[in-house]
Amino acid sequence: ERRLNMIEAINEALDIKMTEDPDVIIMGEDVGYFGGVFRATAGLQEKHGKNRVFDTPISECGIIGAAVGMGAYGLRPVPEIQFADYIYPGLDQLISEAARLRYRSATDYIAPLTVRSPFGGGIFGGQTHSQSPEALFAHVAGLKTVIPSTPHDAKGLLIAAIEDNDPVIFFEPKRIYNAPFTGYYDKPVEPWKTHRDSVVPEGKYSIPLGKARIAQEGEALTVLVYGTMVHVAEAVCREKGIDAEIIDLRTIVPLDIEAIEASVEKTGKCLIVHEATRTAGFGAELSALVTERCFYHLEAPVERVTGFDTPYPHSLEWAYFPGPVRIGEAIDKLMSE
């Protein structure tokens, strides 16, 4: 069994697609010669050439805008935005252009971009290296949003995203690039090398966008979660001995509604966990969907555990992070109903 951490898995997915498809190109700030500030593109320029893996000016607008043009030409660009916090200058090109191009041109042109970007906190990155803006993208018709939680999934989902003909936002939970953080920040971190989900097959495989992963089967309650928080939820349920069904959504748009419905109908209780700020976060959509579709199966109010509606504060990062205590409290509440 070959085990990789998430960076290695992502790097391998990129390498496989670049080798297989000459139209795949990689661009972004520091991704070329240096191989990315998180090393996700390390070695790729050397292997695939400066024409296909290259550094860009510091202009997220230009990165996405140029990628849209490249996509219209027929390439399959995989731009990196160095931190999700810095995606906003490129948002217009994503929302007004990439997301609507197929529709507005009635398929004359498409934007088969895969925008990779590290997101999330827990690394003492302060308010501009910690955000989780996935809800903004989920609101935009025409975009798909993917968030892996394991090396295995990161590789398979990234390959699927690159092959997808729609623009995909691929958010990488940077906190778990190197190890599956459980939220117990004061305990030693288990490395990927000993984690079951770091077994990454060689060669190409892909995981369909829109299919959730049942991270853990259970009967007592359903947990809807993605990214870093999958591992935190798992740890809390383990700790508390709760027979939870933990659904790692993997893709938030399109969503695996069948998996969600089946689980909530079974358990009657639903907890939603994300790191992003609460108000109008993606958890709201999940809560609304569950209420709309599983109402008569609900035995308790759907609960959301989220980051607070504040910027991510540097020194109080662990007070912000929706860690084991916050999740535990919600589980207790749900189980007591």
């Binding site: 009967e219 079974k266 009657g268 109402f295 008569y296 199966h297 609900l298 109010p301």
Partner: protein, 62 residues
Amino acid sequence: PAASEASDASQTLSPAVRRAVLEHGVDPTTIKGTGKDGRLTKEDVIAAAKAKGDDPAPATSS
């Protein structure tokens, strides 16, 4: 989890009806629902409780 052996009706109780059932101590399987698909409504439960001669309980739970 939902009591899987419970009657059809109990699977289609809205939260408000469930609360009414608890507050009024009536057995939902004994009441005929007037809601959609024969579902119990809050009014059905209150009517059943009245018929049973119960005091309406104060709505202070939860």
